[in-house]
């Protein structure tokens, strides 16, 4: 029973496989989007072959672009950034690191994975139904997403499937969260206190706690939105609407309430993506500088406070939403406060390196890249966290650059580090170090080349979620920037093949790894 296995290692690998599939798919979608942005009039036979309705004659329609964008965001946030670092590596290594024989509930663990897989299938099914995939973005704000097909293509069955997929994902994540928390609380090896756990375990622990509460709220939001669509309720739909020249009979709801529910989940979700990475990076930096993590306790406390503060800052996604302006002030102060533990972590990472003897393995490269990206992506939060300044940047490419750097690319660098670091335990062989370093340098360069220029499109005021920029005078000036970014994105996409090759090739042909090749102190490397 390798398919419905209840072994945490197998399930961990299954999650990683699912995330790999999703990340390849999500990346391809983004590359197609980047192409359309700079060559909106191009006719591509391949597009027509793939989407006969969405790209008649090979020229992509705006609705196809927007549905690709929605799917890219959903796939990346949920099926890559939430599954790989937490459910993937967490499942595999958490029990090993705390000396447990397995997760607390192995069957629940298996169910959680298969619910996630079902959720992914449901999401992908949206591509193939009438009207295509939804185009309301990964945030799915009603009324656009709440009224059914009348608001546009993809808003029929496609949107229903999307919500169903998210609801399933919530259920799966809740199961996983229960499993992680129960394992950490109950199954730590005798004598291992909470403050004896490696920081990776702290990362998974806090992430699971965040999931337990954040997904519960998203689940409620998803249920209500689904009721609005299918049962004719009007939780999020106000009265007096005329959509597509038809008077709507609903009344009394408020669209802003959905945004509150969504971001009550949505902001902690950012930390779900990055906290396991933070834990891992602390470990990798410490192992390869030959020192203990500087300020272990402060690091653990910083993880907990980031997780906690992460729940009180969701309003900074809603500064321009029509939310009470007084709430904005409170959310703003709290938002900048969440920068403090993040800065503390950065200082501690630097202090961990300080005075060490740095061994530049591939994993170490990714870890150092993570720190650099974390700084670059993080500090723009100081701009966006101020409501007065956010007013200009909200929904521009500045925001796109900010969150891709910090929750997208930085988290993925942590995943790369995890692969290189733990591959010997997972497959008994090394990932090829030389290929890994080449991949690192090209990726690091590519990431800066793609995302740093996008900030400047934001300075011009370039709104995001536009299929093309032909309509506006002021956007003509950013076209050279976008052309450059698109080409950099192709470069970046292409160099990922190096990693994929390395990953599959090394499973069979990599150098055989001895026990504890990195000289690490944590439990998973011990032979017992």
């Amino acid at each position: 029973m390798i398919i419905f296995s209840i072994d945490h290692k197998v399930i961990g690998k299954q999650y990683i496989g699912l995330a790999l599939f999703s990340v390849v798919l999500g990346t391809l979608l983004s590359l197609i989007m980047r192409f359309h942005l700079v060559y909106p009039d191009a006719k591509v036979r391949l597009f027509q072959a793939m989407w006969p309705d969405g790209a008649p004659g090979g020229q992509m329609t705006p609705e196809l672009y927007l549905s690709l964008m929605t799917m890219h965001g959903t796939i990346m946030v949920f099926f890559v950034l939430t599954t790989a670092p937490q459910s993937g590596f967490g499942n595999y290594f958490l029990p090993l690191q705390i000396g447990a024989h397995d997760m607390a509930f192995p069957v629940l663990n298996m169910l959680s994975f298969w619910t996630t897989a079902l959720s992914l299938l449901t999401l992908l099914a949206a591509f193939f139904v009438e009207g295509g995939a939804p185009l309301s973005g990964w945030t799915a704000y009603p009324p656009l997403s709440g009224l059914g097909r009348i608001t546009g293509p993809g808003e029929g069955l496609g949107q229903d499937l999307w919500i169903l997929s998210i609801a399933l994902f919530c259920v799966a994540s809740l199961m996983a969260a229960i499993n992680f928390i129960a394992t950490i609380i109950e199954l730590r090896a005798p004598g291992m206190g909470y403050f004896d756990m490696p920081l990776t375990c702290w990362g998974w622990f806090v992430t699971a706690l965040i999931s337990l509460f954040a997904f519960a709220v998203l689940l409620a939001g998803g249920i209500l939105l689904l009721l609005d669509r299918t049962a004719g309720t009007s939780f999020f739909i106000p009265g007096g609407l005329i959509v597509n020249d038809q008077v709507q009979s609903r009344s009394g709801g408020s669209p802003i309430l959905f945004q509150h529910l969504f971001w009550f989940f949505g902001h902690p979700e950012v930390y779900i993506a990055i906290l396991p990475g933070m834990g891992l990076i602390s470990t990798v930096l410490s192992v390869f500088s030959g020192k203990k993590v500087f300020g272990y306790k402060a690091m653990a406390i910083a993880l907990v406070s980031i997780g906690g503060l992460g729940f009180v800052v969701w309003g900074h996604h809603m500064f321009i939403s029509g939310m009470s302006p007084y709430s904005s002030i409170a959310f703003s102060v709290l938002t900048l406060a969440v920068g403090v533990p993040s800065a503390v972590k950065t200082f501690n990472w630097l202090a961990t390196l300080w005075g060490g003897r740095l061994r530049f393995t591939a994993a170490m490269h990714y870890a150092l890249g993570f720190v650099s990206l974390f700084i670059t992506g993080g500090i723009t939060g100081l701009v966006l966290g101020q409501p007065g300044l956010d007013v200009y940047f909200h929904d521009t490419y500045f925001v796109v650059a900010h969150f891709h750097l910090i929750m997208g690319v930085a988290a993925i660098f942590a995943i790369f580090a995890a692969f290189h670091y733990w591959f010997p335990l997972m497959y008994g062989r090394f990932l090829n170090e030389r290929l890994g370093k080449v991949h690192f340098f090209l990726t690091f360069l590519g990431v800066y080349a793609v995302f740093v220029p996008l900030h400047f499109a934001g300075f011009v005021g370039n709104p995001r979620r536009y299929p093309d920029f032909k309509e506006y005078e002021f956007l003509k000036s950013v076209m050279p920037l976008h052309i450059g970014v698109t080409h950099a994105a192709y470069f970046l996409g292409a160099v990922q093949l190096i990693f994929l090759f390395n990953y599959f090739w090394s499973q069979r042909h990599g150098a055989i790894a001895p026990a504890n090749p990195w000289n690490a102190a944590t439990r998973e490397w011990r032979n017992d």
Binding site: I6, D7, D102, A177, E186, L212, V217, A220, T233, G252
Partner: protein
């Protein structure tokens, strides 16, 4: 594989975690209800004291009674008295089914006679949304307890398994303790 057994207490911890998370889901629904009600001062209050509230009170007492039998089932299992455990579990399931039956009768009444459905306005949406989700939990609980009952009768399951099932059942009851006053009593005709 799972050769080693978990220490005692893991299952109840897991169930407590589920309960906490699901409580937050229900709390979210109730908070949305509150926000919508604040935004709509003309919120309808369709319930009469008799028969609607009397009926809902009976439903509440039935659900509470099933919690009491559940407590006894857990206590019996703790003493390894499987016969009584099965008896009290069956009583609990009966209570749950009675609750669902009463509830469906009430729904039928609302839909057919008061012409309130989920799509007739925010009151109907909240009422059917919240009570529907709760009823789904009761139904799942009935199935869950049926599995436990069948297992206990055949000598399977430990006291902790029953305790865990009990946690779930009491949680469903606990949620109703908020739904009854907020959804029913706060919607009595002025």
């Amino acid at each position: 594989m799972n050769a080693l057994k978990n220490p005692p207490g893991v299952k109840t911890t897991g169930m407590w975690l589920f309960v906490l998370s699901d409580l937050l889901t229900f709390a979210t629904l109730l908070v949305i209800y509150t926000a919508l009600r604040i935004a709509n001062p003309d919120w309808p209050r369709p319930f009469t004291l008799s028969p609607a509230i009397v009926y809902a009170t009976i439903m509440t007492v039935v659900l509470l009674a099933s919690s009491l039998t559940m407590v006894w089932a857990v206590a019996a299992m703790a003493e390894d008295d499987r016969k009584n455990t099965v008896k009290w579990l069956l009583a609990t399931i009966a209570g749950g089914i009675a609750f669902i039956a009463l509830h469906l009768t009430e729904w039928r009444h609302l839909v057919l006679e008061d012409k309130i459905t989920a799509s007739t306005g925010l009151f109907g949406a909240v009422f059917f949304g919240v009570t529907g989700l709760h009823m789904l939990h009761v139904a799942c609980g009935a199935v869950y307890l049926s599995i436990l009952t069948a297992g206990v009768a055949r000598g399977k399951f430990s006291a902790e398994d029953i305790e865990t099932g009990g946690l779930y059942w009491h949680f469903v009851d606990l949620v109703w303790m908020f739904i009854f006053p907020l959804v029913y009593l706060m919607a009595v005709k002025p």
